[in-house]
Assembly symmetry: C2
Homo-oligomer: 417 residues x 2
C-alpha cells in the first residue's frame, strides 16, 4: 500500500479566506490509482513551516502532493522551499512553459513581465509538468532510493490548473511507485435522517466482514451517501465482496436509494429525462433559480430543459404563470394551490412535458406560526397529473434553499420513475 | 500570541468525498478573537491516528479545535479518543442535550433509539456545549497548567451545528487563554488578472512596513481579494497602518475595487439597488439561473428582484422576451443584438428598473471558430439606456458559468455607479 500526504500551502487557507477544494479532488484521484491518503495538512506562507512540515510528511509517507504557493506574487515561496529541500543545483527557464506564458499574455494583450517569465523558472532536478491552463508548471521530484523510493509533487493551487495536470501525475505515480488496491463504492440516498438510517442498518453493519467499512456522508444537496470500502484485498475479491454488500444494502433501502458513485439528484433527473426524450420547465419562487442552475451545471442540459421563470412577486405569478388572483387571496403564495397553479402555468408557458414549482419561506424573515421559516410547497406536473409535497426544514437561508431544491428534484424523481 | 491547530476527522475527507468547509469557518472565527491558526490537519476515522495527531497538535499549540467523528454511527470515534487522551474517569448523560434529542426525535415522529440517546453521553472532565441544532454536544477540555495552560475543543462536523457553537467556544477561549492581536483587512477587485495586479502593485508592495503582508486571493465568482495583515502590533497602531495602506491601495486601483471584507458582486448589487429603491429583472440563457440564485442567496433579496426567466431555446426567447425571429436568423442567439433584445424584453416583462441578459456558450460542446466555447454577451438595460459587453473565458463549463455570471453582475455595477 502506497501512503500519501497532501499539503496545501497558503495563508489564505489558514485564515479561512478560501476553502480548500484541491485536496478533496487530489484524494479522489489518488484513491483511483490505489494510493491511500493518510493525512492532509495546510500550512501558511512561511519558509520554515513549509520546510518542516514537508520533511515530516515525506518521512512518514511514500508520496507527498503539494499545492499552492507557485503564483507570481511575493507570498508564493513553494518553489524556493522545494529547491532547498531537494538540494537543487540550479534553475532554468522551461521552454515550453515560457512559450505558453508568452502566448497567454499576447492573447490578453499584456506585456510579458519578469514576474510572468519567472513562472517558467524551474529547478534542474525535477520532471516538469507543463501547465496548459495557466502560467505555473508542476514539478515532480524523486526522493529516496531502492525500496525507500519516494515522490514529491508540486502543483499550482488554482483548481482547474491543478486538475489539468493530475493525469500526468497519476501516470508518473503508477510508473514509479507501485500502488496497491483500494476499492470503494458508494450509493446515494435521499429522504432519511442519518440516525434513522444508522438504526435501520445497525444489525446489518455489525455483520460486515471486518475489513469492510461503511461510512455515512450526509450532504444537504445530495442526501446521504453510503460508502463501502475494502483495503488491501486482492482486486477480484474486493469487487466481489463490495458488490455483494451493495446489493444487500439496496434491497434493504428500496426507493430511498437513487444512485451510485457521484450521482446527484440533478444528474439523475437529467438521465431519466434524456432517456425518455422529455423536457422540463421550472417555476421558482423561494428557490430563486437554484434548481435550474443545478440542472444547467450538467453539460448538455439544454436537451432536457425548456426554460424557467423566477417569480418572486404575486404580480409575476399572475402575469407570467396565470396563477389566479383569488388563489393568492384565499390561500396565500405559500400554499399547495399556488404551487400547483405555478407548475401548470410554467408547463404551459414552455409547452413542457414536466414541470416543477416551488413556493416557500427561506428565511430569515417572512415566517408566521402557520407558515414557519423553512416551509416549502413543491408541485410537479406531467403525464401522471399533478402532485404536491409540503416540508418544513430547520436551517439558515442558504441551507433551506438547498434543501428546498433537493426536495423538488427528489419529488420529481419519485413521480416519474 | 495564541497558536491553534484545527483537526478535522473523517475518512470522507481523506478520500475526498467531502470538501472540508469547517476549518475555514473556524479559522475566521479564531482570527477574529486574536488566535493564529498555524496548521490544519485532516485525519481518518482511526483511533491510533487520531490520538497521535492530537498529541502532536496539543504539544505544538495552545489550542486545538477538533471537528467531526461525533455522529451516531460506528465510524464516529472522536469521543472515545478524547476520553483516553484526557484520561476521563467516567461518562454521564447530559440532561439538557438528552432532552433536546428527545424533542428532535418527537418532532420528526421518530422513536428515541440508543444511538440517539448515546449522543448525549459525555466524559466527566469536560465543559459541555449543548448543540441546539443537532444531537451531538460540543466538549471543551482544559489541559496543561499555569503558563502552559491549553485547551482542547471538540465540535460536531455538521457545519451549521458547529457554527452555532462557535460563540460559546470563542467566549471560553477569550476567558481561559489570553489571545493577542491580529489585524486583517481585505478589499475586493474585479476585472484584472492576478499577475497584472501584482505587476501594478510590485513597487508599492516592496515599500510596505516589514511586519505588514499583502496576499492575493483570486476567486472566479468574486474576483481578486487583496488582504493586508499585521500581526502582533498594538491594536491602535495595527488599525492605523492597515487603514493607511488600504487608502493608498484603493487610490491606485480605482474602479477595479468594488468592495471590502466579505463583499461580493451580489451583495454589492443588492446594496446599490436597495439604496436606490430600484428593482432588477434577469434573462439568463447560458448562465441558467446562476445570476439569480447568487442574488437570491442574500436575505431580503426579494426587495430588489422583480423576477427572472431562463430562456434556453430560441422559441422561449421569442415568445417570452419578444426577441425578433429576424435577429436570431441574422445574428444568432449568441450576439449583441439578441442579448440586447433579451434585456429589453425581460425589463418590460417584469416592469423592472434594471435588467441583465446573458447569452453565450458555456461548453464543452457548441463552440465555433467565430463563437468559441467560453464566449458570452452580457447586456444591461436601465435609466442609462442599454449597453453590452463581450468576453471570452477559458474554463470548463462550471467555471465559465461562474465567470459569465460575475461578468454580468460587474457590468451592471459599472453602469449604475
Amino acid at each position: 500500500m502506497i501512503n500519501a500526504a497532501i499539503c496545501t500551502i497558503g495563508d489564505e487557507i489558514l485564515i479561512g479566506q478560501i476553502v480548500d477544494t484541491n485536496s478533496a479532488y487530489i484524494s479522489r484521484e489518488l484513491n483511483g490509482i490505489g494510493v491511500r491518503v493518510t493525512t492532509k495538512i495546510s500550512i501558511g506562507d512561511n519558509f520554515d513551516d513549509i520546510l518542516k512540515s514537508l520533511r515530516i510528511c515525506i518521512s512518514e509517507n511514500d508520496l507527498v502532493v503539494v499545492t499552492g504557493g507557485l503564483g507570481p506574487t511575493k507570498d508564493d515561496i513553494t518553489k524556493k522551499v522545494l529547491s532547498v529541500l531537494t538540494k537543487s543545483q540550479s534553475f532554468y527557464y522551461h521552454d515550453e512553459q515560457l512559450e505558453f506564458i508568452k502566448m497567454i499574455c499576447n492573447k490578453r494583450g499584456l506585456e510579458v513581465s519578469d514576474l510572468n517569465r519567472d513562472q517558467a523558472l524551474v529547478p534542474n532536478n525535477c520532471i516538469v509538468i507543463p501547465n496548459k491552463m495557466g502560467t505555473a508548471p508542476g514539478m515532480v521530484f524523486d526522493l529516496g532510493e531502492g525500496s525507500n523510493k519516494k515522490m514529491l509533487v508540486s502543483l499550482p493551487g488554482v483548481p482547474y490548473e491543478m486538475e489539468g495536470m493530475m493525469p500526468y501525475v497519476n501516470n508518473l505515480i503508477s510508473k514509479k511507485l507501485s500502488p496497491g488496491y483500494i476499492h470503494h463504492k458508494t450509493i446515494v440516498t435521499y429522504g432519511i435522517a442519518e440516525a434513522s438510517l444508522a438504526k435501520m442498518l445497525e444489525e446489518w453493519e455489525d455483520n460486515l466482514d471486518k475489513d469492510v467499512k461503511l461510512a455515512y456522508l450526509p450532504n444537504p444537496a445530495i442526501g446521504i451517501r453510503l460508502r463501502l470500502s475494502v483495503y488491501n484485498r486482492e482486486r477480484e475479491s474486493s469487487i466481489k465482496i463490495v458488490d455483494r454488500y451493495l446489493t444487500e444494502l439496496k434491497s434493504k433501502l428500496g426507493s430511498l436509494v437513487y444512485g451510485e458513485g457521484e450521482d446527484t439528484l440533478e444528474t439523475l433527473i437529467f438521465s431519466i429525462l434524456k432517456n425518455k426524450g422529455k423536457r422540463l420547465a421550472i417555476a421558482e419562487s423561494c428557490t430563486g433559480g437554484t434548481i435550474m442552475s443545478r440542472l444547467v451545471s450538467i453539460p448538455g442540459s439544454s436537451e432536457i430543459i425548456c426554460g424557467g421563470v423566477i417569480t418572486y412577486s404575486n404580480e409575476s405569478k399572475i402575469n407570467l404563470l396565470k396563477v389566479q388572483p383569488e388563489t393568492l387571496d384565499k390561500y396565500g403564495a405559500v400554499s399547495r394551490e399556488c404551487a400547483q397553479e405555478m407548475a401548470l402555468g410554467v408547463k404551459e408557458l414552455y409547452n413542457a412535458d414536466y414541470a416543477i414549482a416551488t413556493t416557500g419561506i427561506a428565511g430569515p424573515g417572512g415566517g408566521t406560526d402557520m407558515k414557519p421559516v423553512g416551509s416549502v410547497w413543491v408541485s410537479v406536473a406531467g403525464d401522471f397529473g399533478i402532485d404536491s409535497s409540503y416540508k418544513v426544514f430547520t436551517g439558515d437561508r442558504t441551507r433551506n434553499i438547498t434543501r428546498f431544491s433537493s426536495e423538488a428534484l427528489n419529488f420529481l424523481r419519485i413521480k416519474i420513475l
